[in-house]
Amino acid sequence: MKIDNNQLLRFTTAGSVDDGKSTLIGRLLYDSKSIFEDQLISIENTSKRRGHEGIDLALFTDGLRDEREQGITIDVAYRYFTTPKRKFIIADTPGHVQYTRNMVTGASTANVAIILVDARHGVIEQTKRHAFIASLLQIPHIIVCVNKMDLVDFTEDAYNNVISQFEEFSSKFLIKDIRFIPISALLGDNVVNRSENMDWYQGAPLLHTLETMHISSDLNKVDARFPVQTVLRPQREGFLDYRGYAGRVASGIFRLGDEITVMPSGFTSKIKSIDTFDGELEEAHAPMSIAITLEDDIDIGRGDMIVRSNNKPETSQDMEVMLCWLHNNPARPRAKYTIMHTSNEQKAMIKEVLYKIDINTLKSKTDDDSLNMNDICKVTLRTTKPLMYDCYRENRTTGSIILIDDSTNETVAAGMIL
């Protein structure tokens, strides 16, 4: 396999129960020969024990024991497969009660969302919810798989119906790239191999689409942002005066000699070197992990952000955020939480709930300011010190936050800065 240019693509799958999500993932793994023999044998045995005919592909994505016993999946699970073109990471985010929380989690790092629709039922409430969350999390590409085409005689009408229903409601959402593929996960049509039953469909099968989709422009290449994770001070022979700022480029490109500003202090300097274990670089871009040294001695630490002087992020203690509540304990009014944003950490207070989105109707409600598990609300946050951020739509790394409840240390909310 040629690995030099192969990229990593992360995708998440969404669908309501029984739309065929597990079968689809099983099919992708099986047809791309990513299932090992010993796993296959164990799945065959389980299929037989449960009285299934042949092998139940859905079993491959079964997770922990409780879930196996209850026959349900409840948390995000990650799967991997590689083809000669790409490496894939699947965030498998199953349905049920905590759906929003799971899908938001899986969607946060995804390049692509695959949304399943049962061809017999067409677009349902759940589908709208999934598309909404995908657009809220700004997943750059959405693929709607119209599944179970075998149960509608592989007719083009059923497929076209789903497209028009989908486009009708999704025009309101910010979705950059959306495609539709008619498939049968059970029989394999248009998953890895082109369907022989649907010659009216001219597009590519799902796997080919995933393998060739253009994703390198999904990253923000304009706004150079470098959150400092830690400072490297080797204090050993050859590096006695070395002071390197270690971090991962969040977005944009940094080059030697660039005029930079350190936020929030506002000190300016120039990039003296971009260092890695493998040698010095001329330039670095997202998502590279590097160390930067500067021409001047400036006091910089974790939580600071190095940016190019001609392009600075917003700096404010007040911001509007779309917040998704992830915890069983509801938000306490005006309570303080720890906020984590890039490498920066401080305290924040939810000042006001502006509105809540009814996930069923996708309408906003202003008469309810409680924040419970799975709620999505627009809120105003106030932090103790200024935060350096970009809006999430432009920058998924510098526009995202989590809230932590200090009394439990649990992550209770995820937020996208508007």
């Binding site: 409780d66 590689t82 490297l232 590096f239 992990s289 974790r302």
Partner: protein
């Protein structure tokens, strides 16, 4: 012309380095759990990159079952010397001698379960708040839902149903006194990725991974090395075979496969043609379908 994207190995490397730096920034006393196996060797290599030009700023910790491949110990000591980092050792033999655990008996006895106590004792005694491991989500079903930052309660236990959601690349490493974290920087790597990376980076690994002639016994569908700890059953014979190991652990249960792969190139080719998962050769995972999950809950690696 420069391209402004990374290939997948570079992206996995950048992610792992980011995670390791988060560990250093968020925890007081982290360690790398070092088994001498290829995954912990890769994690150590990544840590070297993460903190360069500084040395790795935390110790390596080895949970020593006492049933070692001599090659593993030599490899470990050489690596420690060349990196100039501290080594901590938790000894299962000590745990047995102190009566903390009792040795299993019988043909299938292993010290695998015993490691849990030794590990948790070592974590407590050394006040370790974060143990960095080489676990990967592709290894086993139970690991597929594991987080990068995995919280352990004061009994060292993992609660798979109550994990903190992990979004974007923001890691919440907050804990109360007595609790700790396990962190898995190569969560998103597969066995194939690890081998390709070892090959690309020319990382030194123990000779045991290369095909070599060895005295072995056929047990639980793989070639178990014949060693001073082997108790032969009546119908078992010691044979001489050309084998190599896909994972390294306790010498009494680590099974090898017959192989001619004596170079990294050949190993990578062999692994990519492989029809079985690497854990398929470890008898400890075969006991029941939920074996790994049970051990993980109790605080296994």
């Amino acid at each position: 012309m420069s391209k402004y994207y990374l290939n997948y190995l570079d992206e996995l490397e950048a992610e792992a380095i980011y995670v390791l730096r988060e560990v250093w920034a968020q925890f007081q006393k982290p360690v790398i759990l070092f088994s001498g196996g290829k995954d912990s060797i890769v994690v150590t290599h990544l840590a070297q990159k993460a903190f360069y030009p500084s040395k790795i700023p935390f110790p390596l910790m080895h949970v020593d079952t006492g049933h070692n491949f001599p090659e593993t110990i030599k490899f470990r000591d050489d690596l420690i010397n060349s990196l100039g980092v501290e080594l901590l050792v938790g000894s299962v033999q000590d745990s047995i001698d102190q009566g903390r655990v009792a040795e299993e008996r019988g043909k299938h006895a292993t010290r695998n379960a015993l490691q849990i106590t030794t590990l948790l004792d070592a974590i407590e005694n050394n006040k370790i708040d974060c143990a960095i491991g080489g676990g990967r989500r592709d290894e086993e079903k139970a690991r597929a839902k594991e987080r990068f930052f995995s919280h352990r309660d004061e009994f060292g236990q993992w609660d798979p149903k109550n994990q903190r959601p992990e979004l974007w690349n923001i890691f919440n490493g907050k804990y109360f006194e007595g609790e700790h974290f396990r962190v898995f920087p190569i969560s998103n790597w597969t066995e194939m990725d690890v081998w390709n990376y070892i090959k690309r980076e020319k990382i030194e690994i123990p000779s045991l991974y290369y095909a070599h002639i060895r005295e072995v016994v056929w047990r639980s569908n793989s070639w178990i090395p014949y060693s001073e700890f082997t108790v032969l059953e009546e119908n078992e014979a010691v044979l001489s075979k050309k084998i190599r190991f896909r994972t390294l652990g306790d010498i009494t249960i680590t099974g090898g496969i017959e192989s001619e792969a004596d170079t990294l190139e050949k190993i990578v080719d062999e692994v990519s043609a492989m029809r079985n998962t690497e854990r398929g050769n470890r008898s400890d995972d075969k006991r029941s379908e939920s074996a790994m999950e049970d051990r993980k809950r109790q605080g296994y690696f």
